[in-house]
């Protein structure tokens, strides 16, 4: 099934099996709904799949209030660029309530957001802001790359006792893959997944960029280079053990994501690797991410912004180059 169908399945099963689950967001109910929430209001009623006003702060605030009372609300922020509007509720309430009240209140909400990058919708409908939420203690941050992971991780997020930011990627909507339909199927948060084993270099990624990593690995194989593709799946919790284990073997790593490179998730991962594997790495960890520009409208320009399999391959080659060559390249 497609990613959209997998996410729909996760929501459908959660609604079916647990009365505590309900969905709220803009244009998520039928007949207007078209994404992962389509058909669910018809099946479960508009009481459980609620269209809301355009009020991102109150959508998340309301989810928090209901979660405090034992519900498992799944709030949608249509496009991740709008999450600033809800950021206060996420950061100052959802993330901190458990701590601030000594566990007396908690906010086990799931906030689904969609990244629109790659659609030509320009700078305010394209951002990948997961780094913001990694930096806020109390939140969990999830970004699936396959339909199977989408289903398994969304199920875990909804039933996780901590607030989760669940990042969907519009360019993955049509991705297909096998998905277990057993309602119990869930993927634990905090476990990275080896999407392709390898021995010469580790490509560390999550979300859409996993496709770039896999594409690069396929090409590199033909050149005799064996690249392992590690899909983080969740940024918080972060499977440091898996990351370090892989790179300890391969001694080379490229981190690649669609988020802006500067001060992005890759910075944390590279720092961890350099620290944990100092003296073990054969080359500095390469980091790829979006260029440090607002997203342009035209696709000819937009495609220059994001990583690609080719850029991953070039980065791998930098990690493989003899130190002398590299020194020249890096100035």
């Amino acid at each position: 099934m497609t990613m959209t169908q997998a996410l729909n399945l996760a929501l459908d099963q959660a609604l079916a099996h647990d009365e505590r689950v309900f969905l709220l967001g803009e244009d998520i109910a039928d007949p207007g709904a078209s994404g992962p929430t389509a058909k669910l209001s018809t099946k479960y009623g508009v009481d459980r799949v609620l269209d809301t006003p355009i009020s991102e702060a109150a959508i998340v605030g309301a989810a928090i209030g209901a979660a405090m009372e034992g519900f498992r609300p799944v709030a949608e922020i249509m496009i991740m660029d709008f999450i600033g509007i809800a950021a206060d509720q996420i950061v100052n309430h959802a993330a901190k309530l458990r701590f601030m009240t000594g566990g007396r209140t908690t906010a086990p909400i799931t906030v689904r957001v969609q990244v629109y990058g790659g659609l030509g919708t320009g700078a305010t409908h394209s951002q990948s802001l997961e780094a913001w939420f990694m930096h806020v203690p109390g939140l969990k941050v999830i970004v699936p790359s396959t339909p199977r992971d989408g289903k398994g991780l969304l199920t875990s997020a909804i039933f996780d006792d901590d607030p989760c930011i669940f990042v969907e990627t519009i360019r993955l909507r049509g991705q297909r893959g096998l998905v277990p339909t057993d309602p119990a199927f869930a993927i634990p948060l905090g476990q990275a997944d080896v999407k392709r084993p390898g021995t010469d270099v580790t490509l560390i990624s999550y979300g859409r960029a996993v496709l770039d990593a896999l594409g690069a690995a396929a090409t590199l194989e033909q050149e005799g280079i064996s690249a392992e593709v590690l899909d983080l799946r969740t940024l918080v919790p972060l499977d440091v053990e898996a990351i370090v284990e892989s790179v300890r073997r391969t001694r080379r790593a490229v981190v690649v994501h669609d988020a802006v490179r500067f001060a992005g998730p890759g910075a944390e991962i590279a720092s961890i690797l350099h620290s944990e594997l100092f003296g073990v790495l054969e080359a500095p960890v390469e980091r790829l991410g979006a260029r440090f520009v607002p997203n342009p409208g035209p696709s000819a320009l937009e495609s220059q912004v994001y990583p690609s399999a080719d850029r991953v391959i070039a980065a791998v080659q930098r990690t493989l180059a003899p130190a002398t060559v590299r020194a020249g390249a890096h100035g």
């Binding site: 702060a57 109150a58 605030g61 309530l97 000594g102 209140t105």
Partner: protein, 332 residues
């Protein structure tokens, strides 16, 4: 609205109101004295002068009704039944605090008393109240959720979004605006053109009611009406309660920004002595009755404070607890 003490509320309710108001006042007085002398160390945003509102909520709400309040919540918390030990304990960083002292003054919650949130982010309470009310409806419970906030909070986008949702969905919410005529150091008339916060209600399609926030009887009447409407499915009300912050914004505020005479005038309208005088006038209670209530309130405060001061300070290992329910693989 003019109220008639003898018609509008029973003597039991009159007594309860006075008990609550004097308890709130005593709790504030004692804390203020302690901070001023250096005996107590904490941050504090005093509710002195706003007791009537919280006392009215105290008598109009059921224990299972929900309350969302703010940093300026001492009176609200007491009204809703949070034990003083938990409040003082939290403010002073002791294990007996509502959150074992780790959350601090601004973040006191006690679901057993229906207090689900105190927030330090102005305007951010009403959206959470919307969610609490949605939950009550889903649970099939006839609970009401009160969101308590200031006049300044009604200028925030969050207030607007939440008020609109509450009205749209006819949620069992009462939006209680404690209009104390200032937001920090800025008078309310410098931050909104309208004279009455209650006029904001029309834009959402809910009733807006303005009431003397220093008159507990008027407040009980107005709140009873709003709470009943909410409880019976009639949707939310915006209740503007006009009052004054007698100690300024934060404890120690020199209030130099207030025009000459304003504080004196407000003090003359102090709801606690005013209510005492009115009770005496109405005749159900004598001086001795009311003195006794005041003494009991003061004693309760002293006892709570003694318990708190005898309790251990918040344990250092609280830092490692409650960040996540499931912290596996989370950063530390």
């Amino acid at each position: 609205m003019t109220t008639d003490l003898t018609v509008d509320v029973s003597p039991e309710v009159q007594r309860r109101l006075y008990e609550l108001m004097t308890l709130m006042k005593a709790a504030d007085d004692r804390l203020s004295k302690g901070i001023a002398s250096g005996e107590l160390v904490c941050v504090y945003w005093p509710s002195r002068g706003q007791e009537a509102i919280a006392a009215a909520a105290g008598v109009c709400l059921r224990e299972d009704d929900r309350l969302v309040t703010t940093y300026r919540g001492l009176h609200d918390l007491i009204g809703k039944g949070v034990p003083l030990v938990e409040i003082y304990g939290e403010m002073l960083g002791r294990q007996v605090g509502a959150a074992r002292g780790k959350g601090g003054t601004m973040h006191i919650a006690r679901p057993e008393s229906g207090v689900m949130l105190s927030t330090g982010i102005v305007g951010s309470g009403p959206p959470v109240a919307v969610g609490l009310a949605m939950a009550a409806r889903r649970l099939g419970l006839d609970r009401v959720t009160v969101a308590s906030f200031g006049d300044g909070a009604t200028n925030t986008g969050s207030f607007h979004e939440a008020a609109n949702m509450a009205a749209l969905w006819d949620l069992p919410v009462v939006l209680v605006c404690q209009n104390n005529q200032y937001g920090e150091m800025t008078p309310t008339e410098h931050t909104m053109k309208i004279a009455h916060v209650a006029d904001r209600a029309a834009g959402y399609g809910m009733p807006g009611v303005r009431v003397d926030g220093n008159d507990p009887i008027a407040l009980v009447v107005a709140l009873t009406d709003a709470v009943e409407r909410a409880r019976s499915g009639g949707g939310p009300t915006l209740l503007e309660c006009v009052t004054f912050r007698l100690r300024g914004h934060y404890f120690g505020d020199p209030m130099a920004y207030m025009p000459e005479g304003q504080l004196a005038a407000a003090s003359a309208a102090d709801p606690v002595p005013r209510f005492r005088a009115r009770l005496l006038e109405a005749g159900n209670f004598g001086e001795l009755d009311l003195d006794e209530i005041e003494r009991a309130s003061a004693a309760a405060v002293e006892e709570a404070l003694a318990t708190v001061l005898a309790a251990p300070a918040t344990a250092l290992d609280e830092l490692d607890r409650d960040v996540y329910a499931d912290p596996r693989n989370c950063p530390a």
